[in-house]
């Protein structure tokens, strides 16, 4: 029942053996050994499994892998440069220490990357609305807000992009 599927993830083409109805999340974690996207609810309610699909932040927990087709997938692991230099959003989360347990961090970072690509200089309301798919239980929202603002201030608009156009 497994099909050989081609997936473009973090700038690299992968061939995976997977049942076509398998949600992308399970393929990323179990076939490609990625840790960024997390299982949180499997219901597209919490954002823990967020990835960028053609640059847009999308939950991966219900999306059948066969439906990804030729869309480009970027995960948390794909944000830093090959040299190890962090993406400005990642660096801002470290600077603001914007996590407690950190389980929501993937959803927050991926949402922020997509948000800043669309709105390079967002006001508070734009940040709040743009980040609302991602849930945090530790109550780190105010720090995450600060991190997004640091990232927005760190780079001119056109630099807030992933490394894999």
């Amino acid at each position: 029942m497994n099909n050989a599927l081609q997936l473009l993830v973090n700038g690299k083409m992968h061939t995976v053996q997977s049942a076509p109805d398998t949600p992308l999340l399970y393929v990323l974690r179990n076939e490609l050994q990625l840790n960024g996207p997390k299982y949180g609810c499997g219901l597209q309610q919490c954002g823990a499994c967020m990835v960028l699909l053609n640059g847009k932040a999308q939950p991966s927990c219900m999306l059948p892998v066969a439906a990804v087709n030729d869309q480009e997938v970027v995960t948390l692991e794909g944000l830093a440069k090959d040299t190890g230099t962090l993406h400005p959003v990642q660096a801002a989360f470290v600077e603001a220490q914007a996590a407690q347990c950190g389980y929501c961090l993937n959803g927050m970072v991926m949402s922020a990357v997509a948000l800043l690509a669309a709105h390079p200089h967002p006001d508070d309301e734009t940040i709040r609305n743009g980040m609302q798919q991602a849930l945090c239980r530790c109550g780190s929202y105010s720090r995450i807000m600060k991190a997004v603002k640091i990232a927005a201030a760190a780079k001119p608009a056109n630099a807030i992009k992933t490394d894999h156009p």
């Binding site: 995960t75 849930l135 530790c138």
Partner: protein, 720 residues
């Protein structure tokens, strides 16, 4: 990252829940009493090892829960041994490696574990210097220690590892222990960054959910539709025929789990099997008003405090408050990996207590404790006793039936929401008399609560797996009852006080949730203080200060008053405050909230929250702020809109739509001020904000709307 590196790393990230320990005085840092954990495990090498690489490895019996304990512990070790932070690694709770420090709970990790590491490190420093002095035959006061190297006269220098030549320091730590003088601190009291956040942003493996082993198989549980429901029909042959990919079905009475090679096959098999089996109805839950129901239950009464007399003749002012069941609702559903191989069972779990869990599993599985190893690996934030221990027990049962393979058991969102043990619903009845000058002359307090701990501390019946494996359900052991009346005694100076706690056995599964009873007790006391202040014709700050002589309590309130004095309040908005000294013995915390609402309070936004916290000696001010900010936001979500709902059959709050918590648009801004007292004991802080935050919001709602809401959540009708 390789598995071994991760497992090591999983034992070695970082900072800052709480801080505690005996008092030192400036200038004479000689400690006269050793912390409890160190008295239980007195040898230096129980707490630290010198590695050949120049690193120092620290062992703690506590687990990182997102509170930053790893960094706080590394800071105190680096301080006493004059190391760079990079030279310290921290191994977290593991039954085979670390001291047994019970549970990571009650905001007590810095007080016990970090302080034990502090004294063990200081004693190790002394021993290392003595060894070098002996080796070079020079006086000890001519030696210096820096970044793992000891230097002495004549350009002599030697590393810790070369000095020890493969040995470890196994001396017992004995008094007196000379600690580093605080004027020389380079790490403690500084906002040292948590190194685990750097790993998180890179997507490195951090959590138990990220563990991968060669040949690992995946498991899911098939749970009953209700508490106490029993498996009525189940045909294993039919299931194996109809459902693809199943390696093994494990059934023991009402315990039903499946194992597959591929994770998504396990998810599909879980759903398919659920539709192939039938269950009995189980224990019905009460319908209707929960507060009325719990008040109607038989209760056993405990006299908590009686001082002075209740004979005053002033009129009693009364008010009754309530709090519903609320849940931990961890972001990452519980998970565990277990392997049974060569007669040994090894479990990786995000449990808060590896040692108590091992004792419990030993009884549940009839296996000697020596044959069970439990390695603590962080999960997502738990804020108390969530599904972690249950998932570990599930995985253990499954692994025993499928030996030789690592079995990874992952709970679903619905399982975590529907089966975790909740924070108990409570009712608080308050009465007070006002005497001359508008001061409180008498105080009566009655509370109703279920227990706040059913941790499986040796009691297998507190684990779901054990319950499922019985023919009939058994009553869990209701542990620590004092949790219900934590902070029931007001911290204020009142001469005549009586407090009683009435314990019922409620309808749903309950256990420890951040702050235990303190959340509801402080909500009630601090709401009532505002009500009394109005009766006495004084403002909330003045009224509280009239009843406080403890200078540190006064200081947090006075600082808070200063912080918010120029905040304008627009029509429809209001500011309220709340205060507590957590456990009446830990951190002092005063909170203010600015809310916007309408007259009927059908719409409510918490716009901003302020806190002033005094946790004694601050190990990491940023860690302390992070805990306090998060505590306020989490408490705001509980207070404004959270309530576990159920129908006759079972819990109906089973996902984020039916149990909504604050999302980004609802989260208030936060501002936290720390009052650092380097010469005072470190005080537990991780749970300090929950209660005052709740009262501050309720009091602000009253200011904004004129409506006094005494039953939580403040927004009724929310929460699905």
């Amino acid at each position: 990252m390789h598995r071994r590196q991760f497992l090591r790393a999983a034992g070695c990230v970082t900072i800052g829940f709480t801080m505690g320990g005996p008092v030192f005085s400036y200038g004479s840092p000689v400690q006269q009493q050793l912390p409890g954990s160190l008295r239980n495990h007195p040898r230096i090498n129980a707490w630290l090892e010198i590695l050949d690489t120049g690193q120092v490895r620290i062992f703690t019996g506590k687990l990182e829960l997102g509170q930053g304990i790893r960094t706080a512990i590394a800071q105190v070790a680096a301080e006493e041994l004059d190391l760079d932070m990079q030279q310290v690694e921290v191994v977290l709770a593991d039954t085979s490696r670390t001291p047994n420090e019970g549970y990571t709970s009650g905001s007590a990790s810095v007080e016990n574990s970090a302080m034990s590491v502090r004294y063990a490190s200081a004693y190790a420093r002394r021993k290392l210097l003595e060894l070098a002095a002996e080796k070079w035959n020079v006086p000890i006061d001519q030696l210096h220690m820096n970044n793992g190297i000891i230097t002495g006269p004549g350009n002599r220098s030697i590393s810790f590892a070369d000095l020890l030549q493969g040995r470890q320091l196994s001396d017992e730590v004995k008094l007196p222990v000379t600690l580093k003088s605080k004027e020389q601190y380079r790490w403690v009291g500084k906002p040292v960054l948590r190194d685990d956040i750097g790993r998180m942003v890179r997507g490195e493996p951090v959590y138990v959910q990220d563990l991968r082993f060669p040949g690992m198989v995946h498991a899911r549980m098939v749970r009953p539709p209700a508490y106490g429901a029993q498996l009525r029909t189940f045909n294993e042959q039919e299931a194996l025929k109809k459902i693809p990919g199943i390696l093994k079905i494990v059934r023991k009475e009402n315990f039903l789990g499946i194992i597959t090679a591929n994770e998504y096959e396990a998810v599909k098999a879980q759903r398919a099997l659920q539709s192939l089996v039938t269950w009995t109805e189980g224990t019905p839950l009460p319908e209707g008003n929960v507060t009325q129901y719990i008040k109607s239950l038989p209760a056993s009464t405990e006299k908590v405090l009686q001082k002075g007399s209740m004979d005053g003749t002033a009129p009693w002012i009364t008010a009754t408050y309530s709090k519903p069941y609320i849940m931990h609702a961890s972001m990452g559903p519980s998970c565990a990996v277990a392997i049974y191989d060569k007669d040994q069972l090894h479990i990786w779990s995000h449990t808060q207590g590896v040692f108590p869990l091992r004792r419990t599993l030993s009884r549940m599985l009839n296996m000697p404790e020596e044959k069970i190893q439990i390695t603590g690996v962080p999960g997502s934030g738990c804020y108390g006793h969530n599904g972690a221990d249950d998932a570990a027990a599930d995985a253990a049962v499954l692994a025993l039936e499928y030996p030789g393979k690592h079995v990874r058991l992952q709970w679903s969102r619905e399982e975590e929401h529907g089966w975790e043990p909740y924070g108990s619903a409570m009712i608080m009845e308050l009465a007070a008399q006002l005497g001359p000058g508008g001061k409180i002359s008498a105080w009566k307090y009655n509370l109703w609560s279920d227990t706040h701990s059913t941790r499986p501390a040796g009691a297998p019946q507190n684990l779901l797996a054990y319950q499922y494996m019985q023919q009939t359900p058994q009553q869990p052991e209701r542990g620590f009852t004092a949790g219900a009346y934590r902070n029931a005694e007001p911290y204020y100076d009142i001469d005549n006080v009586t407090i009683q706690a009435h314990f019922f056995n409620g309808p749903v599964r309950v256990s420890a949730l951040r702050g235990l009873g303190a959340y509801a007790n402080i909500f009630a006391i601090e709401s009532f203080m505002d009500e009394l202040a109005a009766k006495a014709g004084t403002d909330p700050f003045t009224f509280r200060l009239m009843h406080l002589t403890d200078e540190r309590a006064r200081a947090v309130l006075e600082k808070l008053r200063d912080m918010i004095k120029d905040v304008p309040t627009a029509p429809g908005t209001g500011i309220g405050i709340g205060f507590s000294c957590y456990k009446n013995a830990a951190s002092y915390c005063a909170v203010a909230a600015l809310v916007k609402t309408n007259k009927a309070v059908t719409d409510l936004t918490v716009q901003k929250m302020w806190a002033v916290i005094d946790a004694g000696e601050t190990i990491n001010p940023d860690g302390l702020k992070n805990q306090t900010e998060g505590g306020m936001i989490q408490s705001a979500s509980w207070t404004v809109q959270e309530q576990v709902r159920f129908n006759k059959q079972h819990i109906t709050s089973v996902n984020w739509n039916s149990y909504p918590i604050f999302r980004f648009p609802q989260a208030p801004e936060t501002e936290v001020a720390v009052i650092d007292r380097p010469n005072e004991s470190v005080l537990g802080a991780g749970e300090a904000a929950q209660g005052p935050a709740a009262a501050a919001i309720a009091n602000a709602v009253y200011k904004a709307s004129g409506k006094r809401i005494r039953d939580l959540p403040l927004l009724r009708g929310q929460g699905g």
